[in-house]
């Protein structure tokens, strides 16, 4: 097996009296889609927040391409190749769709106060480069007609798509998607599945996917990790995890489907 893109090593996270993560370990391989499932409050989003350095784990380590992330500040994570979406949307509502996505490309182009204020050639070159990339992503996710609309005025599903586009603009090697299918109907979920697969195949990147929509997780994932009360309770192929008794009891309800 090739070396993993990211390894989560015995990560624990405590908030006051609550142990949100309790010694979680697993690997994300190259070009893998790893599904992360578990009941509400199991610690999935907390793990995302640890991966993107918004939280510092109480103990344990997180490696990206073999190097620890923990010494890195949160703003450097995008440049290191981790892009993410947020469970409850964290867009910039008063900015246009295009600008929101461009913010995702912030670390991808050079620039600073002085060269921007003076419109130095390198700032202009960067801006053109960003326009090009964002244009491509906008086309890919079919947001072209909305590019100049304010994000805050768009329906929920569309906002989720903008967030995905913004995450792609960071040019990630590991993409973290937190419940991308929430609030979508069947048709839209199927469509989303296609989009995610295309993203992985087109960019040859790894994806960590948190999702309660079992159909989507099971059809997309190469590997599934199940959490409960901050602990890993099962791991393996979708079929194996789905058949796991503990997962069925804690998460799916009743017996395994």
């Amino acid at each position: 097996m090739t070396s993993p893109v990211a390894s989560i090593r015995d990560v624990a996270m405590r908030f006051g009296g609550i142990l949100a993560l309790d010694g979680v370990s697993f690997d994300i391989g190259p070009e893998q889609i790893v599904g992360l499932i578990g009941p509400n409050g199991a610690g999935k989003t907390t793990l995302f927040n640890c991966l993107s350095r918004l939280y510092t784990p109480t103990s344990g380590d997180i490696l990206l391409h073999g190097r620890s992330l923990l010494g890195r500040p949160a703003y450097s994570i995008a440049a290191l190749g981790i892009g993410r979406t947020f469970q409850n949307l964290a867009l910039f509502p008063k900015l246009s769709v295009a600008d929101n996505i461009k913010v995702g490309g912030h670390a991808e182009i050079a620039g600073d106060f002085i060269s921007d204020a003076l419109r130095l050639p390198r700032a202009r070159a960067g801006a053109r480069e960003l326009d090009r990339r964002v244009g491509a992503i906008v086309d890919e996710l079919e947001l072209g007609a909305l590019a100049q609309r304010l994000v805050g005025d768009l329906p929920f599903g569309t906002q989720k798509r903008v967030e995905l586009a913004r995450a792609l603009a960071t040019n990630p090697s590991l993409l973290l998607l937190d419940e991308p299918a929430a609030g979508l109907n069947h048709e839209e979920v199927d469509e989303l599945g296609g989009v995610i697969r295309r993203i992985r195949d087109g960019r040859r990147i790894s994806i960590l996917l948190v999702e309660h929509h079992m159909g989507l997780v099971m059809s997309l994932s190469d590997h599934v990790v199940a959490l409960n009360f901050g602990r890993k309770i099962a791991e393996g192929t979708p079929l194996k995890v789905q058949a796991d008794e503990a997962v069925a009891a804690a998460y799916l309800g009743g017996t395994a489907q």
């Binding site: 703003y75 995008a78 964290a90 867009l91 912030h106 670390a107 620039g111 921007d116 801006a127 913004r166």
Partner: protein, 314 residues
């Protein structure tokens, strides 16, 4: 874009032509207007674009003014050079103040900056600093004449100098806010956590913005000192900060051209209120402010942007 370009061009032509048609006094007033507009633009960069609230910009205005006055008075440095110097000093002070400000938000930040505004006149009066600051008496500044034998009065020359500074600073600010940096500033205002996850060094941007904003206001302060020819601690009280803030809101939050409108408001409306009633000028000013906010809750910028939207949707 074309509407904006045309307006800017017309503005610039008018601004260049106008001193020939008006008296020295009105020229002086317009100079003050431009100076306040620079200060308001600086505050808008911080508060309007970056969402950091400041009631402390009178302090930066004061530091800029004193930097200019002391450099001229004690070190005999030419007035032109005091402008970049004031900008640099204020940038440094603002940048440093930006660090504690990082930990504070909204109302708490407002109070910290409020403290800065209140403390500044007292520090300027400080006995150990009297040698430089002139203590409570302040410092005099010589009024410069037009250089190179230009056929301009001193008022006109200062007006053109200020206009040049304004245009330069406006263009820089405009470039900044429409660039990658400007997007980062707005993103931080809208959602700092998301901004961080998208690769924006939030702390650095916030402190730098504090510095840049302070530098703008400081340059305005230096120009103010040169034009007024005098600085004294009590000119820079907390009410000056409030005045700038009023200017930002009236002009429009996060809308740069609003600086001119805001400056005109804070410069002319008090005079107008005084014309209506001497005894109640403060109250009249207050009522005008309230009525204005009723008519344009988002300032002139709000009106203009909705007008533009209507125009474009046609």
């Amino acid at each position: 874009m074309t509407i904006e370009r045309t307006t800017a061009l017309v503005f610039l032509i008018c601004a260049l032509a106008v001193p020939a048609m008006i008296s020295g006094f009105v020229t002086f007033q317009l100079t003050m207007l431009l100076i306040y507009a620079i200060a308001i633009m600086g505050l808008n960069l911080l508060t309007g674009f970056n969402g950091q609230f400041s009631l402390g910009h009178s302090a930066f205005y004061a530091i800029g003014a004193y930097t200019a006055a002391i450099l001229m008075d004690q070190f005999g440095i030419g007035y032109i050079w005091t402008l970049p110097a004031a900008g640099l000093v204020c940038f440094a002070v603002g940048f440093l103040f930006g660090f504690p400000a990082l930990r504070l938000e909204g109302t708490y930040l407002a109070l910290a900056t409020f403290g800065l505004a209140v403390a500044t006149p007292q520090i300027l009066k400080l006995t150990p600093l009297e040698h430089w600051t002139g203590g409570v008496q302040g410092v005099f500044v010589m009024k410069p004449n037009a250089p190179f034998g230009l056929p301009l009065t001193s008022d006109q020359w200062l007006y053109y100098l200020t206009l040049a500074a304004f245009v330069l600073l406006y263009v820089l600010a405009k470039n900044l806010v429409t660039s990658r940096t400007g997007r980062a500033l707005l993103a931080i205002r809208e959602n700092p956590i998301a901004a961080q996850s998208m690769g924006i060094n939030v702390s650095l941007y916030k402190t730098l913005t504090f510095g840049v904003s302070a530098a703008y206001t400081g340059i305005a302060g230096a120009l103010g000192a040169i034009v007024i020819q005098f600085v004294a601690p009590d000119s820079f009280g907390f009410m000056l900060s409030v005045t700038f803030l009023v200017g930002v809101v009236v002009g429009g939050i996060a809308w740069l051209p609003g600086a001119i409108i805001g400056a005109a408001f804070i410069l002319f409306v008090p005079n107008f209120a005084e014309d209506i009633s001497k005894g109640l000028s403060g109250a009249v000013y207050g009522i005008i402010m309230i009525l204005l906010i009723y008519v344009m809750p988002s300032g002139a910028g709000g009106i203009v942007s909705s007008a533009l939207r209507v125009l474009r949707s046609r």
